[in-house]
């Protein structure tokens, strides 16, 4: 089971990191226009996140996906892929655990998937903060 998890982890994280590097190189080359101009960044990167969002119109939640064509927010594709690597690996091992009779661990892993998906979907933020 560890070997299967390792194989999935290796491939998924490599792909995510490659996407992150490529999108950052494209960002630096100015291939796509960024949402926040590079020259403006030093004026806003010292602001707290809520002030930053208000000042720049930066997206929250999954709204960055609609801006993935911009040079800066395209980088979040790789970041989001990094955040999904563990979910994919867990999804792969849950059936293996269940088939090998490890019911308690299979249940733990299934709950873990639910927690990660709640965090990824923004549901956890919404439930805990009461807004989004």
């Amino acid at each position: 089971m560890e070997l299967i998890y390792a194989r999935w982890l290796s491939w998924c994280s490599r792909i995510a990191l490659a996407v992150l590097v490529v999108t950052f190189v494209l960002y630096m080359l100015g291939v796509h226009r960024p949402l926040i101009a590079l020259e403006r960044l030093p004026q806003v990167w010292g602001l707290a996140v809520d002030e930053f969002v208000a000042a720049t119109g930066a997206p929250t939640g999954w709204r960055w996906l609609g801006l993935a064509g911009s040079g800066d927010y395209a980088n979040l594709i790789g970041v989001a892929m990094l955040g999904l690597v563990t979910v994919l690996c867990y999804l792969r091992v849950v059936p293996l655990l269940a088939r090998s009779g490890e019911r308690a661990l299979a249940l733990v892993a299934a709950v873990q998937i639910a927690v990660l998906l709640a965090a990824a979907s923004g549901l956890a933020s919404t439930l805990l903060a009461g807004n989004h």
Partner: protein, 285 residues
């Protein structure tokens, strides 16, 4: 920010250089990059701590994801040991991230400084140990938290099991809060809890700690991403710098004096921790 006009590219370039150095030094000192990154970059760079913590989490996550396959293949990380602890840690890391993003920056700086100074004490005075396998408690037995790993250094299989599982789960709850709140990664806390509290062998504790980070940090990273606290200009140079630096660190591992490097890291952490503490108190801005 401070009245001095600096070209935008200077800071990301400096960040890449510092991250590269952190990556190399972290490997040599046997610590995670996140624990160095957050206090150093948070204390001496112009980026807001919200973005630094978001980047710190992703940095620790990348390191854990990269190291994970080799640790699992070599039997040095155990899914049986990690799954229950990771679940508790990932739930509380979500709460920690939410709390960290809600607290005023100066309060957070003080708490970060105090935590870093605590880590310095733990690293400076803490001692890991390998003893005979403990008698497993009921919860550990029910969850199947036992097994055998191969220790290549001594050339034999080593049976392991854990005890004090409820206390371990509670400790990982606390670790998750700290990881999410400060974006530090948490290898510095994982290993003592696994080894000293729960009685797992040291090598298995170190390996499983890396795996645990990949789960705990993932949950918290999503909270930062959804709040808009992941700044591409900060994240990408940091991750690339640390990953490249770690490769150099691995090459230097054979020749560098590890004890001296570890002491240098402790001094760096001490300065960065004091800087965060005094910055939060308004005494060193």
């Amino acid at each position: 920010m401070d009245g001095v006009i600096t070209a935008w590219w200077v800071w990301p370039l400096a960040l890449f250089g510092v991250s590269f150095a952190i990556g190399a030094v972290a490997v040599l000192a046997g610590v995670g990059g996140g624990v160095l990154f957050v206090p150093i970059v948070g204390g001496f760079f112009p980026f807001h701590l919200d973005f630094v913590r978001g980047a710190g989490l992703l940095l620790a996550l990348c390191g854990a994801l990269s190291a994970g396959p080799a640790l699992l293949r070599n039997g040095l990380a155990s899914l049986r040991l990690a799954l229950p602890l990771a679940l508790v840690g990932s739930v509380t890391s979500i709460g920690g991230a939410m709390l960290g993003l809600a607290l005023p920056t100066d309060v957070l700086q003080v708490a970060l400084g105090a935590t870093i100074l605590g880590i310095v004490a733990l690293m400076g005075f803490g001692r890991s140990q390998d003893a005979a396998p403990p008698k497993p408690d009921g919860l550990a037995a029910a969850l199947g938290m036992h097994g055998v790993y191969h220790d290549a250094a001594i050339g034999r299989d080593v049976p392991w099991c854990v005890h004090r599982t409820p206390a371990g789960l509670l400790a990982f709850g606390g670790i998750g809060v700290l990881a999410g709140m400060f974006g530090l990664g948490a290898g510095w806390a994982n290993v003592p809890v696994l080894n000293l509290l729960m009685g797992a062998p040291l090598k298995l504790s170190v390996g499983t700690s890396g795996f645990l980070l990949s789960v705990i940090d993932t949950s918290a990273a999503w909270i930062y991403l959804h709040r808009g606290a992941v700044l591409p200009m900060l994240v990408a140079p940091s991750i690339i710098g640390v990953m490249l630096g770690a490769k150099v660190g691995v090459r230097l591992l054979r020749v560098a004096p590890a004890r001296i490097v570890r002491r240098v890291v402790l001094v760096l952490l001490l300065i960065a921790g004091l800087r965060a503490l005094l910055k939060g108190l308004g005494a060193w801005n």
